[in-house]
Symmetry: C2
Subunit: 344 residues, 2 copies
């Protein structure tokens, strides 16, 4: 507090009409918010409750030896912060696995701690597969498509606190795919994410590759879009095989990639950013499939974005978020209240 | 689709029991998901609906000139993606001020767009003021405290997409504070945030400085903690003066600093990350003050964290989030449902 540090017992009986007179620098000491209180003082009288200059003015610096009228009686400790009242010796400031926020950075600095040990960010290999894929820059040949799923996955991995390691395009070749997964694991990647080659076509080698060099745990999930997703383990490293259709790739990444990154990085789960809305039109879904419907939000209405397949990326880029329909439901009616999970 | 590209009208009448025979490479062409369909073909029959090798096996590559049994009749366009079905010439992919998300990065790459013009991240000057402040590293003298508010503000500005410019500590001196604000503006900062010196004590110069070199718009707000906050304009640049008490500093930053950064960076408003909970104990608040109560969340119960002032930073660092009480209310009862805004 801005005011005068005093010995509380010397203010007994002081009031507006009956001030106690003190000499500045002797009986009382001028202090400001944040100042230390001299050792022999135990309370601070607010500047508003003091008069200097012979009753002419409230507060201010009286000057060494000048008389200060103290016009309030105080208990010991009044307006004084005690040592250790925030954090004191022996207190636990943060436990293991606490994720450091901006306020926590400040607390650590208050404690004089400049460095703390943290869990490493997980390094995630990203392997786009497909003989039809071309690098993103420059002209591309007829019949080829630009590699963009790996870019999208890398962007999300970084956003989620992981370190993306984009390994470059691998063509549809059983051995080359296996070699790249093994190399990623050998080079210390904590997880491997492949894009494409996970369906049941003649060129869809990824699930078989995983099962040959490791263990394929799941192939095919109740997710729409995203059904062909596969999950496996190679040399104790989780491997996630995402569909090549870009919308399915994104949604399977949100469902399975995000928890992998969080778990490996020991990051706490965070709630999504949600907007509440009423559905502007009925949406259908198949029982048994957790279904991601793309919606655009206008005021408090969520309008389903017309879609015709998991390859139509503009159905996502024109959307603000997803309405996620549980596998037990068969769609949601027009006008129903829904949570829209914002796309980030 | 994985299968054979065909001319749809040549499949008329084809069925499982009545296949149409075609020569590979002449009447039909082997294609994979993502392959281009040859110009004279207009549909793709799925591999599951074909037989090669004289009826011995389903699907597979028959080989140039070999006979393929087509066992399904198709309409033109079946299983073929049309050029422009996602985005076509003349479509607007993104409008001005659209914030680019991971899916949008992928869409831009699909369109072959490697560079897009974006709004600059706002540069925010951060000026901690106070004669009691010492740099964070090393030993500090008796009566001094480490500068940590500026660090906390910088961390948040970066998290929100701005560029923090921590200007270093300025002592409680009217002219030096004014000089530093003016220098920040001259050097192109888009906003100035000061910490400390905004209350009504003898050394609280910041509001007067703002009013002298610019316009003080507001001094004192209905926010608890955070009441002494001041807002002003210096040379068309917004200036935010935050309280020096660390909890008040943080809360006034969340209320006023975040919208300043978003607005200057043309970033859309985002909903907070919210956890729904029941209040584990009654909390009080003063009418007229928007009150931030610190709570820790255990399951679906939000427990108020005991506090004794805006200087007790551990009241924040031990909390998971805030229950924000509107200025019209006088507290919230135990057991009431509340939204907890997570601290990030």
């Amino acid at each position: 507090m801005d005011g005068y540090a005093v010995r509380a017992d010397e203010t007994t009986g002081a009031s507006q009409s009956n001030p106690v007179l003190m000499r500045e620098g002797v009986d009382c000491v001028r202090v400001h918010t944040g100042s230390p209180v001299p050792g022999e003082m135990d309370a601070v009288v607010m500047i508003e409750d003091t008069v200097t200059g012979g009753g002419m003015s409230v507060g201010g610096d009286a000057g060494e030896g000048a008389i200060v009228e103290i016009r309030a009686a105080l208990h010991p400790g009044r307006n004084v912060s005690q040592i250790g009242e925030d954090v004191s010796r022996g207190d636990v400031a943060f436990r293991t696995s606490h994720q450091i926020r901006a306020c926590d950075v400040a607390m650590l600095a208050m404690l004089g701690i400049m460095d703390v040990e943290v869990f490493a960010s997980p390094k995630v290999a990203i392997i786009p597969t497909g003989s039809e894929l071309a690098p993103r820059s420059g002209k591309i040949a007829e019949g080829m498509i630009r590699e963009t799923n790996g870019l999208m996955v890398s962007t999300h991995i970084k956003q989620w606190g992981g370190i993306p390691d984009h390994r470059g395009i691998v063509i549809d070749d059983f051995d080359l795919i296996g070699t790249e997964i093994a190399a990623s694991v050998d080079e210390g990647c904590d997880a491997v994410i492949l894009c494409g080659g996970t369906s049941v076509g003649a060129r869809d080698y990824v699930p078989d590759v995983i099962d040959t060099i490791g263990d394929l745990l799941v192939h095919g999930v109740g997710l729409s879009p995203g059904k062909p997703t596969a999950l496996g383990i190679v040399s104790d490293t989780p491997v996630l095989s995402l569909p090549g259709y870009p919308v399915a790739c994104l949604i399977a990444l949100l469902e399975f990639g995000l928890p992998i990154v969080r778990k490996l990085g020991r990051m706490p789960e965070k709630p999504d950013r949600i907007v509440h809305a009423r559905l502007g039109a009925k949406i259908a879904s198949k029982i048994g499939y957790r279904t991601y419907t793309r919606v655009s939000v206008d005021g408090d209405v969520a309008h389903p974005v017309a879609t015709s397949g998991a390859g139509i990326m503009s159905s996502v880029t024109r959307s603000d978020g997803f309405v996620i329909i549980n596998e037990e439901l068969e769609g949601i009616d027009c006008g129903d209240e829904v949570d829209v999970v914002l796309i980030e």
